[in-house]
């Protein structure tokens, strides 16, 4: 029996390999050497930088590899870069925070790198099985990271809730894929699905529609879309703050990468069927996220609901399903990564003493005692609310113009109205910081260099990307050309 192993080039998955090997190296060094190791964050950052260089080096390629299992294209690369940025910023935030909890362990960094590998797989998959495997690599790493503070009851709750519901959602996704396999006549390659699911007969097949609906449930859970959002507030509140930031930006980005790739590439012929479904989901997600966020007094919970709302905005772009829509998904995810991680950086700085100051009223009078920090937080809040000249504004502008361009006027209007609602709770933080006296003396805040650098960098970047969006727009436009249907 002869076996012909397909030709492949390891370079095309170079960034994955770099990150995975880096993670394994961390684990080995941690296991085989004695004493406390302080260099893991730097090492992880170096590995991420290397992966970013590899990605940039690959830029421009357009092919598939490993027997058509992965796409090697700019859409994947741009997502790689966003994911690497998210992971790097998270690692910058982590070290002092973990030390405070006595949890500065090598496994933390290794798991973040592994989760990033899983996310990259999702962004580059050309076959449903790769999407599923990537999703599981990412999810399992994140389940564990959410429960990393295992002496803390809320962290345990977060991990358990995320695990149980996440497994449930994975089952939905798998059922969707299985039904799709049947409906498409035995193939799960994304490009082949597009070819097979075109004639009118398959279009009206209930089996196909059922499969698509189940896929929406699976992806909807990972991006925290209403009504699959129930886990979000508890998990975001209970998980370590740095991991909450990571979950909010990177997990969401990866899920949207796969979501967009599957729906733009495999189901363009079904647009009539799924756009209505996603329309409803988008409106429900935006509205519920924004309205419930108003009632929150815990800053992490508030940001959790805000993250639900932002998933809703991105769903609007998915509904639009045109080139500008695809560009706006990429742009918005970049902007969201910057402003959200920045906001969580401020939360980490203010929280102190094992997360003792998480109430939003702990921010009262912050501007008088720590004007720099308050200014940073204000920038992030303005950006999240979508005010010019920040990146949040430009992102929303792209999204809603894409919706208008595609003819979804009402969706755009509802989106803008939701943004207005969100202004209330984002500005409330700013008002508390600048116009209220402190409830009590906040005490000193330890400005650790890494976290401070992260907050400053994200604040500057949020503004800069908002003022000069053109270069990223061009990159994104270049990368979404791979979708023939848009």
């Amino acid at each position: 029996m002869t076996l012909t192993i397909p030709t492949f080039s390891l370079i095309s998955i170079g960034p994955w390999l770099t990150l995975a090997l880096g993670a394994i190296l961390i684990l080995l060094v941690d296991a085989l050497s004695k004493g406390r190791k302080t260099y893991f964050p730097y090492f992880s950052l170096a590995v991420l930088a290397l992966a970013a260089f590899q990605t940039i080096d690959l830029w421009g390629a357009q092919s598939t590899d490993f027997a058509r299992m992965v796409y090697v294209d700019n859409f994947a690369f741009l997502f790689y870069l966003i994911l690497i940025l998210g992971a790097a910023l998270t690692i910058l935030l982590s070290r002092p925070y973990l030390e405070e909890w006595g949890k500065d362990m090598g496994e933390y960094y290794a798991l973040i790198l592994f989760a990033t590998v899983g996310m990259m797989m999702m962004a580059a998959s050309a076959h449903m099985i790769m999407i599923f495997l990537g999703l599981e690599v990412m999810s399992i790493a994140v389940y564990v990271l959410a429960g990393f503070f295992r002496e803390d009851a809320r962290s345990n709750e977060a991990a358990l809730k995320y695990l149980v519901l996440g497994a449930f959602a994975s089952a939905f996704l798998l059922f969707g894929m299985a039904f799709l396999y049947g409906a498409a006549g035995g193939s799960l390659y994304l490009d082949e699905l597009a070819k097979r699911l075109t004639d009118a007969a398959t279009l009206t097949k209930p089996l196909t529609l059922l499969a698509i609906a189940l896929l929406v449930v699976g992806f909807g859970f990972k991006v925290a879309a209403v009504p699959f959002h129930m886990w979000t507030p508890d998990v975001y509140e209970g998980a370590p703050t740095s991991i909450t930031a990571y979950m909010a930006v990177a997990v969401k980005a990866a899920a949207f990468a796969a979501f967009a790739r599957v729906f733009f590439l495999a189901f363009p012929a079904f647009h009539v069927n799924w756009h209505m479904l996603l329309w409803v989901l988008a409106v429900a997600t935006m509205t519920l996220g924004n309205v419930v966020a108003i009632a929150q007094t815990n800053i992490k919970r508030m940001l959790a609901y805000s993250s639900i709302a932002h998933a809703g905005y991105i769903l609007v772009a998915l509904v639009a399903a045109n080139q500008l829509g695809a560009v706006s998904i990429l742009y918005y995810l970049l902007a969201y990564t910057l402003m959200n991680i920045g906001a969580f950086g401020v939360v980490i700085l203010v929280a102190r003493k094992k997360d003792s100051y998480l109430n939003i009223y702990d921010y009262s009078g912050l501007a008088y005692q720590h004007p720099g920090l308050a200014a940073g937080m204000a920038v992030f809040m303005f950006a999240l609310a979508g005010m010019p000249p920040t990146a949040g504004f430009v992102g929303k502008f792209y999204i809603f113009s894409a919706a208008v361009q595609a003819g979804y006027i009402w969706l755009a209007i509802l989106g803008v109205m939701n943004s207005l609602v969100s202004v209330y709770y984002y500005l409330r933080i700013t008002v508390l910081m600048y116009m209220r006296p402190a409830e009590a003396d906040l005490g000193p805040i330890a400005f650790t260099p890494a976290v401070t650098a992260c907050v400053i960098a994200t604040a500057v970047a949020t503004v800069l990307v908002g003022i000069f969006p053109g270069w990223f727009y061009d990159l994104a436009m270049n990368s979404v050309k791979i979708f023939p249907s848009l």
Binding site: L3, I5, P6, A67, K103, M105, E107, G134, A159
Partner: protein, 166 residues
């Protein structure tokens, strides 16, 4: 003949599956789940997937469920200590309605579906060989990625379970 065996096995699978959910004692649920695994393994055999059937028994019935039983016995769960919270009437109604809806969609979906048959194994190759061939050609990358998945799961389990912390 095959059809009768299939329906018998499918019936066992369904009934045992329902019983898994309706037991009050976790150990009984686990035992019915084992019965369910056997029925499903039988269905795999009918589909000439001997390898999958054997793996189903070895991995699920023989290893995973033994671990489940181990944990249940280790905690020595006799009877649930407190009554589970009773669902509201509204919850029940919503659950039953949605379940009926899903059942309808599934039945309707499959009644309309003309699912083509999967490709037969190439002649001269047993089931195990054809799976191996697929794993090392078309599915080479997913097969290797699975090892990353397992590594992550192991590291995660160790992180959460390690007794002493630095």
């Amino acid at each position: 003949m095959m059809a009768y065996i299939f329906f018998a096995l499918a019936g066992i699978a369904l009934i045992s599956g329902v019983l898994v959910v309706f037991q009050t004692h976790p150990l009984r649920s686990a035992l019915w789940l084992i019965v369910n695994f056997f029925a499903v393994a039988g269905i795999y055999l009918l589909a000439h997937a001997e390898f999958i059937a054997a793996i189903q028994i070895i991995v699920y019935a023989g290893a995973i469920m033994v671990l489940f039983l181990f944990v249940i016995m280790l905690l020595n769960l006799r009877q649930p200590e407190e009554e589970a919270a009773r669902p509201w009437f509204g919850q029940k109604l919503a659950g039953i309605t949605l379940a009926a809806l899903v059942a309808f969609i599934l039945v309707y979906g499959f009644s309309k579906a003309e699912v083509p048959l999967a490709k037969a194994a190439p002649p001269g190759l047993g089931n195990t060989e054809s799976i191996a061939r697929l794993l090392f050609t078309d599915y080479l990358l997913p097969f290797e990625v699975t090892s990353v998945l397992l590594l992550v799961a192991i590291v995660g389990a160790v992180v959460l379970a390690k007794s002493k912390l630095k």
